[in-house]
């Protein structure tokens, strides 16, 4: 290895001014933290919105000081649904795992000094930030936030104020925000892919990349191919709203007794464009978490990932199949039974690579020396939630069953477990795992364990009962669950879920406290607190500006060489030469 480390020859110089260093930084590590903090802000907003919804479902007549008019109207409830979904899916689940951790760790894990295009990286973040400002602004404009859901279904989203209070300025801001988000994600995806292809260290072949890198890489490819489609849809929708076109708006539509001036557009066209993006999007949210889970399970079982290549190929297969199943969100749109059948079979076929992954996660644990550290707990939680939530998908994937379950709480239960909470557990696992590397200190382990157990139990208490409500016919997005006798009979279940939600929400304060307290007061971490093998653990915590202090590693082995027989040390870092490793025999 070069001995030039820290000799000052390096061209990468840390900028000195506060603004260049922390605000308009082109360092992928700073940008990663910026993305993470953006997602942290967004998740706080999202949780508050969800608690308001849960509160309203149980006390629909309560007087709320901050609601104009005192009592929440159905429209205001719908605005909460819309904003909660949008903020969570885009600004949390898409932002934290990929923009946050991917940005920070992808270059380091492949032994690179930065992303391929650092300025573009900065631009991606700031455009994402603008998108967030736009969506938050929707709360305060006249009419308030939009009411058409995170899927922005037309014609509701395309007509303007006539269709509801939030459908004026609020909906416009929603579309602008999502379009900006698409743009930013496209730039980000470009950067991730080019970096993975061209900036790998010597010896870092594709099948020596950590599975986290595989996760971010496949996610970036999905993003590249999906976000452009939503962007196109967003532009057409904006034209329908503001330029008088009729891409998505049918003729003869009467809203509030007014005949609308549109002609011959297709509301289903929007659904197709949306879900062609939307289904890959759910994998964009979860694939990085799958990578993290594989990585963490291996590290804390002190065992190689079981079937590493199969894991990488399953990620690719999920990504590939993910583009051919969007129709399963539209079984009830009047599609031909033949298309329905095709979409159904393709959807269920995703169960195969998903099962491969689950099987291999369990295979990784099997016979391992398992250490129940906080990242491990959350990774195990991820697997549990992914399985529980994924199984209900197989029911929904059958048109005949979906006939009954579509638009009920069953779907809400499905996607919250498999996407919402599972991806959040992936984020938590990543946070507890990499916090020492990012900030040089450990997070408190006892607090983390309390956080885990409450959140894990809480998530199941909130979302498991939702399946029953859905099967019993409880419709999603209704502001008042007591409107009909059969639904009112389910009210005790709603009460239970609301209590669970408030307790789980409160438990997140433990995490926030732990996070900020540990920044200053955590135990000093050292380079490699978990005895892990990948390249981020051979450099300082936090890493220097160019990641390796000028001493760039070469790679001689795969990413998960744990407990290799014949060696005294139970982990062999990727950068050890065969001679160096031989000394450990």
């Amino acid at each position: 290895m070069s001995s030039h480390a820290h000799t000052g020859h390096a061209v990468v110089v840390e900028p000195s001014g506060f603004i260049r260093k922390y605000i308009f930084s082109i360092d992928h590590k700073v940008i990663g933290i910026q993305y993470f903090l953006l997602a942290l802000t967004a998740v706080c907003v999202g949780i508050v919105l969800s608690l308001l919804m849960r509160f309203h479902l149980v006390y629909p007549g309560a007087h709320l000081p901050f609601v104009s008019g005192g009592i929440m109207t159905p429209e205001q409830y719908l605005a909460l649904v819309t904003m909660h979904g949008t903020i969570m899916v885009f600004f949390v689940l898409t932002t934290a795992p990929q923009g946050g951790f991917g940005n920070y760790f992808l270059p380091i894990q492949i032994g690179a000094p930065d992303m391929a295009f650092p300025r573009l990286n900065m631009l991606s973040f700031w455009v994402t930030f603008l998108a967030f400002v736009a969506i938050i602004a929707a709360f305060v404009v006249p009419g308030g936030a939009p009411i058409s859901g995170w899927t922005g279904y037309t014609p509701l989203s395309g007509m303007g104020e006539v269709t509801g209070p939030g459908e004026g300025m609020g909906q416009t801001l929603w579309i602008v925000s999502i379009s900006l988000f698409c743009l930013a994600s496209l730039l980000g995806a470009l950067n991730f892919i080019a970096t993975t292809i061209d900036l790998r260290a010597p010896g870092m072949t594709l099948f020596r990349m950590p599975l986290t890198v595989w996760g971010w890489f496949v996610t970036a490819i999905l993003g590249l191919l999906a976000f452009g489609v939503l962007l196109a849809g967003g532009i057409l929708l904006l034209l329908d709203r503001s330029a008088g076109t009729s891409f998505f708006l049918p003729a003869g539509l009467v809203v509030n007794d007014q005949l609308q001036p549109h002609s011959g557009g297709s509301p289903l066209l929007w659904q197709h464009l949306f879900w062609f993006f939307g289904h890959p999007e759910v994998y964009i949210a979860i694939l990085p978490g799958m990578g993290v889970a594989s990585h963490v399970l291996s590290t804390f079982s002190r065992k190689p990932v079981f079937g590493y290549r199969a894991m990488a190929m399953a990620l690719c297969a999920i990504g590939f199949l993910g583009f051919m199943v969007w129709g399963h969100h539209m079984f009830l749109s009047g599609m031909s039974p033949y298309s329905g059948f095709a979409f159904s079979v393709l959807t269920m076929s995703i169960g195969v690579p998903s099962a491969i992954k689950t099987f291999n996660w369990i295979g990784t644990l099997w016979g391992g020396k398992i250490q129940f550290k906080s990242p491990m707990l959350f990774a195990l939680g991820f697997v549990s939630l992914f399985v529980s939530g994924g199984l209900s998908g197989l029911f929904l994937a059958q048109p005949a069953v979906d006939n009954m379950l579509h638009a009920t709480y069953y779907v809400v239960a499905h996607f919250h477990l498999v996407m919402g909470v599972a991806a959040i557990f992936g984020i938590f696992s990543a946070t507890y795992f990499w916090f020492p590397k990012m900030f040089g200190r450990m997070m408190s382990e006892p607090l983390a364990k309390v956080h885990f157990w409450i959140t894990f139990a809480g998530a199941y208490c909130i979302f498991m009962p939702m399946h029953f409500i859905g099967i019993a016919g409880g419709i999603r997005r209704y502001a008042d669950a007591t409107g009909t006798n059969y639904a009112a009979a389910l009210q005790p279940v709603h009460v239970f879920m609301t209590y669970a939600a408030f307790i789980t929400g409160a438990a997140q304060l433990i995490f926030l406290f732990n996070f900020f307290w540990s920044l200053k007061h955590g135990a000093v971490a050292g380079k490699n607190p978990w005895n892990a093998t990948t390249l981020e653990w051979i450099t300082d915590s936090p890493p220097p500006i160019d990641n390796f202090g000028g001493d760039y590693p070469s790679v001689y082995r795969g990413p998960y060489e744990f407990s290799v027989p014949g060696y005294r040390q139970d982990f062999i870092p990727q950068n050890l030469t065969p001679e160096q490793a031989a000394l450990l025999k």
């Binding site: 061209v11 492949i110 391929a116 295009f117 061209d198 072949t205 452009g228 011959g264 066209l269």
Partner: protein, 221 residues
């Protein structure tokens, strides 16, 4: 084509410490260590720009294909209110200009590779001017349509016409700006070889895309 330019500027990249590609089995990137300068300074390898442009074009293609599928679906709607119209004649001229610009750009680049900077600048300039002519021609086409009473919201056929031409025009405007930028400013991160290669990829793609859209508007109306 990719790679051929990189060798021109090999000194600029700096090969740094060796290390070899240590048995890279089927990897298409890892193993190359030409982005590390002698003192460990970081430099993005020039091929990353080519990769980046390839990826960007894939994303752009998806964007336009989404619009094209919307076109097909919308046109096929029952009661679609679709009123076909003849595209302005000037589009034929514009199309010829754009196709010609691809040839002049290819010429410019081959002059560059032959180290003939005079010829390079000449044909590069011609390409830029042809690009500007194309854009001006598209604007004239819009004005003719408007004069004929066809606006963005008149009927779905005209809506799509404006959407396609505007989306493509904006992308091409970006191409013209890139041409101008490279003509007038030295780029310090990209070598000139890579810059011209990357811009050429983009330009030819936009040319091909336009021909496709033109045929769609012409035959698919």
């Amino acid at each position: 084509m990719p790679g051929s330019t990189v060798t021109d500027e090999v000194e600029l990249i700096g090969t740094g410490k060796g290390g070899g590609s240590s048995g890279d089995d089927g990897s298409f990137g890892g193993g190359g260590d030409d982005w590390k300068g002698p003192s460990g300074s970081a430099r993005v390898p020039q091929r990353a720009y080519v990769t980046g442009m390839t990826i960007a074009l894939a994303g752009i293609l998806m964007f336009f294909m989404a619009l094209v599928s919307a076109y097909i679906v919308r046109k096929g709607m029952p009661n679609s209110a679709w009123v076909p119209f003849n595209v302005p004649r000037i589009l034929w001229l514009n199309t010829l200009i754009l196709i010609a610009s691809s040839f002049t750009l290819a010429r410019s680049r081959s002059r560059f590779l032959a180290n003939d900077s005079e010829g390079f600048r000449h044909w590069w300039g011609v390409t830029t001017i042809l690009g500007i002519f194309f854009l001006a021609g598209q604007v004239i086409a819009w004005r003719q349509l408007a004069a004929a009473g066809l606006f963005l919201s008149t009927n779905p056929a005209s809506s799509f016409f404006y959407v396609f031409t505007a989306a493509h025009g904006l992308h091409l405007l970006g191409g013209v700006l890139a041409l101008l930028f490279i003509a007038f400013r030295p780029t310090h991160r990209l070598t000139k070889g890579t810059a011209t290669e990357v811009v050429s990829m983009y330009w030819h793609f936009m040319d091909g895309l336009w021909v496709f859209l033109f045929l769609l508007l012409l035959l698919g109306r």
